[in-house]
């Protein structure tokens, strides 16, 4: 299982040691320009837009009902009847890929939204207040981060039934630690900056300082971490599918489609079937990584044009 996307973000604070203040308007333009210079990131972004759009419009794009079985057409090769072939129960692979995209992306986005939320909250509180609270929260983060991720996932998924909600919950609950560390780092750096000190002396409430003043400045790394996180979750779901603990059939996900095709007879005799969901996972995760990478460079003031 590869959750290195997370590790990347975890490592990041080591490199970003100082943060400078820029005026907001110009910084977005600069970043956009930097981002557009990174060709892989741009290609990734285009691919993601296409994939997300096809997931949203799956009901209109899918040529067939993704759960309709024609058992006699089991493993039919790509052709007129099934553009991308049929799976091991004679269901249209293209339709399942489209609906699978919905599920895989849904799990990816919602669980990352959840983990970003938790991570930002904990990181912001720890970083802003510092002291004992910070120490306690960070030890907790250390404990969670020290669990090898897949072990934690396996344990949690066996506790709860492996339903869609469970998976989202589990990925969210375990995936927030990287963000928490990152946000804490940003807050630690920013909390003694002049504009925060100024805000404090003006008697502005802590919550307002956190959300209106510091958070916008820490958005960059959070967005990067979220982007990489979605790819990580999609891969994590695939890894769990291998163990039979991912999204459960009959709901199609790229992970369980790939898993159900792992059989020498299918891999050699109907190679397109494992290849397609595998390829979808590949390009999606790849695109998320490139985009994340591009965003990171764009947000990093030290990397000049």
């Amino acid at each position: 299982m590869t959750l290195s996307g997370r590790n990347l973000t975890v490592n990041e604070p080591l490199l970003i040691e100082e943060k400078q203040e820029f005026a907001h308007e110009s910084i977005w333009k600069v970043m956009l320009r930097k981002f557009l210079k990174n060709k892989l990131a741009v290609i990734g972004a285009i691919i993601l837009v296409i994939i997300i759009a096809s997931a949203i419009f799956a009901p209109w794009l899918a040529p067939q009902d993704p759960s309709k079985q024609v058992l006699l057409d089991k493993l039919s090769p790509p052709g007129e009847k099934y553009i991308l072939g049929a799976d091991n129960l004679g269901r249209d692979v293209l339709s399942r890929l489209l609906y699978g995209a919905r599920v895989s992306l849904l799990v990816g986005f919602t669980s990352v939204a959840g983990s970003i939320f938790i991570g930002t909250m904990i990181g912001a509180i720890a970083g802003y207040y510092g002291g004992k609270l910070d120490a306690i929260l960070m030890r907790f983060v250390d404990a969670v981060i020290s669990f090898p991720s897949l072990f934690l996932l396996i344990t949690l998924v066996t506790i709860f039934d492996p339903s869609l909600m469970t998976l989202i919950f589990v990925f969210a609950v375990f995936g927030w630690t990287g963000t928490a560390r990152l946000v804490r780092g940003e807050f630690l750096a920013l909390r003694s900056s002049e504009f925060v000190l100024a805000a404090r002396t003006l008697g502005i409430k802590n919550s307002r300082i956190i959300f209106s003043h510091i958070l916008p400045n820490a958005m960059g790394p959070i967005i990067v971490s979220a982007t990489l996180g979605v790819g990580g979750v999609i891969l994590g779901e695939a890894a769990l599918s291998y163990l039979g603990l991912g999204i459960q059939p009959p709901i199609p996900s790229w992970g369980n489609m790939l898993q159900s095709a792992q059989n020498p007879q299918i891999m050699l005799g109907a190679w397109w079937y494992p290849l397609l969901p595998g390829f979808m996972i590949l390009i999606t995760v790849l695109s998320f990584n490139f985009v994340g990478d591009g965003l990171r460079d764009a947000f990093d003031p030290k990397i000049n044009e």
Binding site: S67, L71, V157, T158, D161, Y242, Q248, Q262, P264, Q265
Partner: protein
Amino acid sequence: MLKNRFLLFIVFMFVLIVTACSDGTVEESSNEANSEKEDNQTENTQTEEKSGGSLVLGTTAAPTLFNPYYSTDTSSSTIEGFIFSGLVTVDTDFNPEGDLAESWEFTEDGLRWTFHLRENVKWHDGADFTADDVVFSYGIPLHEDYIGPRGLPFEIIEEINKVDDYTVEFVLSEPYAPFITITAQFEVLPKHILGEVPIAELGMNKFNTKEPIGTGPFKFQQWKEGEYIELIANEDYYLGAPKLDSIIYKIVPDMNTLMAQLQVGDINLTGISPQYIETAKKLEEQGKVVVTSGPSNAFEYIGYNLRNELFQDKLVRQALTHAIDKEAIVQAILDGSGVVAHGPGSPANWAFNPDVPKFEYDPEEAKRKLKEAGWEPNKDGILEKDGNKFEFVLKTTSANEIRQQIAEVAQQQLSEIGIKTSIELLEWSAYVEQTSPPLWNFDAIVAGWSIGSDPDPTWFWHTSEIENGLNYNGFSNERVDELLSENTKISDIEERKRIIAEADAIVAEEQPDTFLYYVEGSLANAPNLHGPKFNAANTYYKIHEWYID
């Protein structure tokens, strides 16, 4: 697919006592066939066949411990069968055959059984095998401190008496037909080693995992954690020294990797599950393996919880069966590796009754019967009765891919007659907890039973098995209870067959389950390995005569 590792636990929920499951695999590791051992057998008449080599048996599930009174998994009982011997064993047709007992007789009332033991049998450590060992071993599950999973088959034993050093007598509390093929098949343990161990601690004794000593054809050599178990030939085996030098029971958790190992010759025997039968056949075409198949002693079904009002009407259950295209399931999911079932039991054993009421695939008939039972389609096409929709949850375990696919197919086919099902896949331990007593938390399940070496169906259908036993459906039928209570008291096979057939026919008529198919098992072995042939009763029958050329 790691999933398949757990398949074993599930396909063979009803663990056979005989080492007769289809998961056995043999592989030949090294070709250093040191045929130094002369044919020192006396009673066997084999000619100058080549001997030597190791059988490398590939499997996805690791064994747990080697003590038949404490282990429940297939891997362990397979290996126990190599190391130990029981009083009797069964041949490839489930007929009892003397093993440590040369002969036996029983009184007319079926209550008193006398076994005449083989003399000159030695334990692997050289000690003599005697009646004391039998009295000790069969007394283990009867002991008040016994904590283990094998209590029931011994319950009917009232006394075990040593008549002389080579004669043992059992007194039963009531006649019990499965006594000979179930109870008397239990392997005997050495009293001179374990006699002093407190029974409460026997399950944890290091004998079970470090130094099992038996009388069987192979001796325990080593257990390489997570890799393999090595057994070597017992030159003093009482039926003649095995021709194989050793057996290596190799653990390969991923079924795809196992198939790869079979293909390149890293293993030379393995059981093949239906998803891999096509792959195995392809290898057979290339001359890389030999595949043998046959009915295994098991059936698969969709079981209904009769505590649920939906399923209390027999007509409804029959209609559900009409709605399921079993033939399509067998062809598409199993690649033809199964036979459509109409009732319980299995063609692999003698008690099988093929003439039961049949409810063939016929969606129109299904709708008709449902209408008769008061279920009418509403405007969305979903069946309704008294304002209640016909919808239920179909549960099965994610550990078994075949059952998962069956659930998907059943869902679609039931939707075609207006029944709405949702599938819930549970991880194995959770699944067991939810479906078994005392929770019975299910509407319907996709499941299977493997039958023991005695075909007694009491476990599945008798009313007394509802509260604590395997009758998860909660099926209860007076006539069936009567027949089943009678069946184990009769020793005449023809008579028993008639009784079981009648009970099976009633069950098939009642359809507490939609009986899907009788499982077919397969075995693939390297072409130079001679001996293995798939059979449901005793896969490793006469393994001491197997050889590699």
